[in-house]
Symmetry: C2
Subunit: 331 residues, 2 copies
């Protein structure tokens, strides 16, 4: 049995999802020789530290009942700096302007030779090059499957499963909110505003939907793909972006009559990074409905490989984090 | 650099595809520290052996010009038995009645501690348990991504990328011939016989199409999934099978008017293995057209993950073989 001491930095929906998954999968993980021992959890105001292993069930209950995970005033950054552990799971909220606390957390982790698994897009979309250099210099492993498409496994698919293939293009639907709104507009022949309101009521869209509907979230994911799959050093400023707010039910109907749907498609290859609404044939693998995400990876040997899955959700995202954790430490 | 001595047993379209891919990807493979040295190639009548490395370009040319790969009368089985090498790439034709030469080749490889990568469904659909026992006993690695869906990476996706997830159900389109015929019947409102004839003309269907259109090929792939993903010890006799020969254009039109397509769906879970035509909503990830294959893997944490790709083609299948080869030997 290999014991990996880890911290969870950020204890919102995703961080709690990771704790839940570690509780549920304890027996499975032991069966493959892995014992993940959480020695610290931090939220934005408090922390709990226990070198013998934090009681995860109690931590989740306390966060739910009191709004804070612990009684200590230690910050995530201090935990990463001072407590001896191998793995930092970084699940603080995305900030695409500065990279947020996540950027400092990750750099501190690498400085101390700790591995990092994250769902936090901000630092990767802003400072990919610096993060990779720092992690390489310290020999830390850095994995971030959860940042692009939640449970839809596009990064690890490209790296492991399609090994031997040269990837020439990636395109897909990387934002479930936009996909939900466009799918419902087509089904109901209803205008954008009405279906946005429905999505907000159901919790698929934020009160301020700009980040999703203007294509910014998609752009961040494309930047991560550009850097990770195509070896660029891009930021979200390198992306040409058009959102979905100008799409009309009439346009969707015209498309439908010709056997097409309209989807917000993100595309990245050697020469461009682009987000825009596009016509997709109804029986094309990219034409998936609801709030699903989908990515089509064009390869030299295998042709196009398309993968579809849930792009969000705390357990789905935690699952992507867990698969990264396993891939690092499994013999 | 790690040198892996290997044989290619079976030198039809897929075996030649493997040779081509090894030529094209030589630099890439060296860049990740792998040197695959082919020490022998056998077709059904002849062989070429060179312990310093067979000239792959010459072997492909000779096969193309003369119909045979070499001048030696050695069989594949003898090569596996007598020549010292680490890896057997087994690409002889599928035989689902006896398992064919492939079964003997694989068992001989394991007996001598050699790893096996194969695209040959027959032995796996017939004798999965015996093959796994024998390979485990000798410590050989046995990989067969190419047997299920060609370039569509379902087995390795389930094993590596979805690590940590419990897989509860797999369903999909595992036969490109049937998908092509059904897609064209819907597009042209044409009867089965006419679109079968078209598929035969274009080379998508065999002169005797029974194996594909009656669902037997799909059944074999499900058996491999049942054994590999669900730990069963099934053979193709355990599968309930209905083919596509009774589907009418009228049925397809009725379905289409309600927003559905009809697809030959294979499904496997703990309690059943089943092949039958089914209604699929037009915007569902399984509703892919043309000759594509698709598999939807239901997981406990990630929800459904669907992967789509080309189910056949010599280079596509060779690519799946190459990804297995890399996954075995890459550090």
């Amino acid at each position: 049995m290999k014991t990996i001491r880890m911290s969870i930095i950020g204890f919102g929906a995703v961080g709690q999802g990771v704790a839940k998954v570690l509780i549920d999968k304890k027996d499975y993980l032991e069966s493959i020789g892995l014992d993940f021992k959480v020695v610290a959890i931090a939220d934005s105001r408090t922390a709990v530290v226990d070198l013998n292993g934090v009681d995860l069930t109690a931590a989740i209950s306390r966060k739910s009942a009191e709004g804070t995970v612990g009684s200590e005033k230690t910050t995530g950054l201090e935990i990463i700096e001072t407590i001896d552990h191998e793995l930092v799971v970084e699940t603080t909220p995305t900030n695409i302007v500065t990279g947020g606390a996540g950027l400092h957390n990750m750099l501190m982790a690498f400085k101390h030779g700790r591995d990092v698994v994250t769902s936090n897009k901000g630092p990767l979309a802003m400072k990919y090059g610096e993060l990779m250099e720092t992690s390489n210099a310290s020999g830390s492993v850095f994995r971030f499957e959860a940042t692009v498409g939640g449970a839809m496994p596009v990064l690890n698919l490209a790296r492991d499963v399609l090994a031997g293939n040269k990837i020439t293009n990636v395109e897909g639907i990387f934002n479930g909110t936009c996909n939900y709104i466009l799918t419902r507009m087509m089904e109901e022949h209803a205008p954008y505003g009405q279906m946005l309101a429905e999505a907000q009521e159901l919790g698929y869209a934020e009160t301020d939907p700009t980040y999703d509907v203007e294509g910014i979230d998609t752009a961040c994911k494309l930047v991560i793909l550009a850097n990770c799959v195509f070896g660029m050093n891009a930021t979200h400023e390198d992306v040409t972006i058009t959102g979905i707010t100008k799409i009309t039910p009439e346009a969707l109907l015209l498309a439908q009559n010709d056997g097409y749907v309209i989807k917000l498609i993100g595309e990245v290859n050697d020469s461009r990074i682009n987000v825009a609404p596009k016509l997709v044939p109804i029986d094309h693998p990219l034409a998936v409905g609801g709030s699903l995400n989908v990515a089509s990876v064009q390869t030299d040997l295998s042709g196009p490989i398309t993968v579809t899955g849930r792009g969000a959700g705390s357990i789905e995202t935690a699952s992507a984090i867990l698969s990264d954790m396993i891939s690092i430490y499994r013999e």
